[in-house]
Symmetry: C2
Subunit: 412 residues, 2 copies
C-alpha cells in the first residue's frame, strides 16, 4: 500500500506554520509498514485542492488529507472531494446535535457556518473528534481509502491513533532500525554503508547528519517476517563490526535522550552552567521524561556578575582572559562542581553573535566537562546564525558528555 | 507569478526530518510578492521525481526543487529533469575543478561519484555553493523558471539569498503585516475580522493561534503600490479600533522577541527560576539577539535541594504545601528577587508528566511574577504531552510578563 498525504491550508504555503502533521503521519505509517511516496501542501482554493486530490488518488491507494474541515468559508476539503467524485454532501443529524451541545456546554455562540461541520459525503463514515468541533471523515472510493482529518495537531493526533491506524492493514512487513553514531563523518560512513547495501537489495541504508551526530537508518521490506528480521540482524552486525567504536546507541531520537538514558542506567547525575547556550542544554535534558532523576541543577549565568556570584568564577580570571576563555569555562564547571558535587558538571561560554564588536570572534566557544577526578575542555569556532551557533555548542556538549559516559561505562 | 516547491528525499517521507526548507522558501517568496500554491515532497525515485516535476511545470511558472543533488546514487534530481525535458547532462569543467580542489584542500578522498556533482543540463546556469560540494542549477524552459538547490539548509539558504532571490521579479505588489494579540480568543477575533474582510476583497486576513497568543496576518495584493499601502493602513486602523486593548505589538515573530524588545525599550531586567519548564523560558529569551541586555540570571531548580539552596525556598513550605503549589512558586520568585533585584523575577513549578503517581495532577502548574512592589500568581492545568505542557507553561509565563510590561509602560 502506497500513501500520499495532502495538507490543505494557505498558512502552510505562507511559511507561517511548520507542517508537523506530515512528519507525524509519515512516522506512524512507516511503523505500520506503509510507504508514503508523496506529500503535497496546497492553498485553500477549491480547484487546486481538487487537483491535489485527483493526483493523489491516481498514484496512491491510501490518501490522508489534513485541514480545511473547519467552519470558515476557507474550509473546503469536503466540498472539493464531493465535487471531484460527483457526489453530494448531506447533513448528519448526530453530528449537528453534538456540535450544538458543544456550543451550549461551552457557553459559546453558534453561528450558521458551524453547521458546515455536520456535512458528510454519501457512504462516508464520520470520525469523532473529542478535542474540537470538526469531525473527520473516512470513505472508500474506487479502491482508494481516503481519510480527511482536521488540521490542529491536538485534534488530529488522537483521531489518527484511535480511528485511522486500526483501519490500515498491510501485506508487506517493514522494519526500521537506527544506529546512533558519534565522531565519525557522514562521507566516511557513506562509503562503508554503500558497500554493505550492495549485498542486501531489500534493505535501504540512509544517513542523517545533525550537529555532529550521524544517525544510520536501516529500512527493510519483505513479505516474510523471518527473512526480514534475519537480514536486518545481518546488516546491523556487519555495520557494528566496521564502526563499533563510533556506535553509541540504537533508536535514540536525540542526543538528549541518549544522554539521559545513559546517565540513568549508570546512576549518575549532571549539573549544567550555561552562558552562550543560555539554557538550551538544560531545556533539552528536561524535555526527556525522567530528567529529574539525572539533572541536579541548571544555572544560566549570562552576565559576568552571575558567573561570579553563582559559580565563583574569579573576577581576575575574567579580566585577564576574557569571558570567552578556557579559564572561565573551567572555573564555571569547577564552581558548579563545588556547589553540587554532581558526577558531571558541564559549562559553556562563547560568542553567539551577532555583534558589531570586531574584537569578538562570533561562534568561538569553550565547553568544559568537570568530574571529581578529571576535566576536559573543548575549543571550537562555529558558523551560522545565532540560533545555529547556540544549538551546535549545545549539541557538542551533549556529544562530549555521551562520549565520556561511554568511556566510563566501558571501563567499569 | 505562481510558485511550487518540490522537496526530493525519502528521509522527508519517513518523517525523519522536518521540512524546514519549505517553510523558509515560502516565507521568502511571500516577501517577494510571490504566491506558493503547491509544495510537494517526493521519495528518491526517478519516475516519481519526474512526475512531480511534470505536475509542477504545468501549474506553476516558478519551480524550486530542493535535494537530490549530492554524490550518492539516490541523488537524481538533475537526471529526472534531463529525462523529463529530453536533454542531456554534460560535465562542467570548472565545477569539476572546484570539487577536486575542495577535496584536496580538506584532505578528503574523492570518489568517482563526486564527479556527478559537476554535471549540468544544457543551457543551464550553475549556482555556486560555498558550503558544500553540490552546486545548484538554474534553467529557463518553456516559460518556466526552474531552480535546483541542495537539501542541507546551511547550503541552501545562502544560495537562495544570493542567487535565487535576485532572479525573481514580479509585477504585483504584496504587503504583509502581523498584529500580535494576547488574551483574546481566536473565534472572537474571527467574527470581528470576517466582517472587516468583506469590505476589502483584495486583502486576506488570517489568524494563527499558538499557545494563547493569536497572530493576525494581513496579506494584501495590488498592482498599485499606493493603493495597496492605503488599504493596508485602513484595515490595520479598523482592527486597532476594535481590539486595541489586546494588541501588544506588530510583526513580532515570537513571544520571546516581544518580551525582550519591550524589556529593552523600558530598560528593565528579568531573572527566571524554572522548575517544570526546565530552562525553556530562559533558552527562549537567550535565542533573541541582545538578550544579555535584559536577562540577569536563569536558574533551573529542578530538584527540591536546588530550590532550597539556590532560591531559599523553605523546606517547611515544601513539606506543607508540596513542590507544586502557589507558595513554592511565590518563594522561588521572591528568593530570586532577593538574590538578583531584577525588575521582574519569574518562577514556574508544576507537573509535566508522565507519571504513574495518581496523586500528581499532570499539567497542573503555578507561575509567579515578582516585582519590587507586587507579585502575581497564575494557576493553570494544561493537557498534552510532556513537551506540550512545558511549552504551554513557558508561553503563558511570557504572555503574563508581556501583559505586565505593557501595563507598566501605559502607566508611566
Amino acid at each position: 500500500m502506497k500513501a500520499e498525504i495532502i495538507n490543505v491550508g494557505t498558512e502552510i504555503l505562507l511559511g507561517s506554520i511548520d507542517n508537523t502533521n506530515s512528519v507525524y503521519i509519515c512516522k506512524k505509517l512507516v511503523e505500520k509498514g506503509i510507504e508514503t511516496i508523496f506529500q503535497t501542501a496546497v492553498i485553500d482554493d477549491i480547484e487546486l485542492v481538487k487537483l491535489a486530490l485527483k493526483n493523489a488518488v491516481e498514484r496512491a491507494t491510501l490518501v490522508i488529507v489534513t485541514g480545511g474541515l473547519g467552519p470558515t468559508e476557507d474550509d473546503l476539503t469536503k466540498e472539493a472531494l464531493a465535487q471531484l467524485f460527483g457526489t453530494n454532501l448531506e447533513l448528519d443529524e448526530n453530528t449537528k446535535q453534538t456540535i450544538e451541545n458543544y456550543f451550549s456546554h461551552n457557553n459559546k455562540k453558534m453561528t450558521a457556518n458551524n453547521y458546515k461541520q455536520a456535512l458528510k459525503l454519501k457512504n462516508s463514515e464520520l470520525i469523532p473528534n473529542n478535542n474540537g468541533t470538526a469531525p473527520g471523515l473516512f470513505i472508500e472510493l474506487n479502491g482508494n481509502k481516503i481519510f480527511l482529518l482536521p488540521g490542529p495537531p491536538n485534534e488530529l493526533i488522537p483521531m489518527f491513533e484511535e480511528h485511522v491506524l486500526p483501519k490500515l492493514k498491510t501485506d508487506i512487513f517493514l522494519a526500521t532500525k537506527s544506529i546512533n553514531t558519534l565522531e565519525i563523518g557522514e562521507s566516511e560512513l557513506e562509503t562503508i554503508l554503500r558497500e554493505i547495501e550492495l549485498h542486501y537489495p531489500e534493505i535501504e541504508i540512509a544517513t542523517y547528519a545533525s550537529y555532529g551526530a550521524v544517525e544510520i537508518k536501516i529500512i527493510g521490506k519483505d513479505n516474510n517476517l523471518d527473512d526480514l528480521n534475519s537480514k536486518m540482524s545481518q546488516v546491523i552486525s556487519i555495520i557494528d563490526s566496521k564502526i563499533h567504536n563510533h556506535i553509541y546507541g540504537f533508536n535514540y531520537s536525540s542526543l538528549e535522550e541518549m544522554a539521559v538514558d545513559k546517565l540513568k542506567k549508570s546512576g549518575q547525575k549532571i549539573s549544567i552552567a550555561e552562558s552562550v547556550t543560555g539554557g538550551i542544554i538544560t531545556s533539552k535534558i528536561t524535555r526527556i521524561p525522567g530528567a529529574s532523576e539525572v539533572l541536579e541543577r541548571g544555572i544560566v549565568a549570562y552576565t559576568i556578575e552571575s558567573k561570579i556570584d553563582e559559580l565563583g568564577v574569579s573576577r581576575n580570571t575574567i579580566d585577564s582572559y576574557g569571558v570567552v576563555s578556557e579559564q572561565v569555562a573551567f572555573e564555571m564547571a569547577k564552581g558548579l562542581y563545588e556547589k553540587t558535587k554532581s558526577d558531571y558538571c558541564i559549562a559553556t561560554t562563547g560568542f553567539a553573535g551577532p555583534t558589531a564588536d570586531k574584537e569578538k570572534k562570533v561562534g568561538e566557544n569553550y565547553i568544559c566537562i568537570y568530574t571529581k577526578d578529571n576535566h576536559f575542555i573543548f575549543y571550537n569556532q562555529f558558523n551560522g546564525t545565532r540560533e545555529a551557533i547556540q544549538h551546535k555548542i549545545a549539541s557538542l556538549a551533549l556529544i562530549k558528555l555521551i562520549v565520556q559516559l561511554n568511556n566510563k561505562l566501558t571501563l567499569n
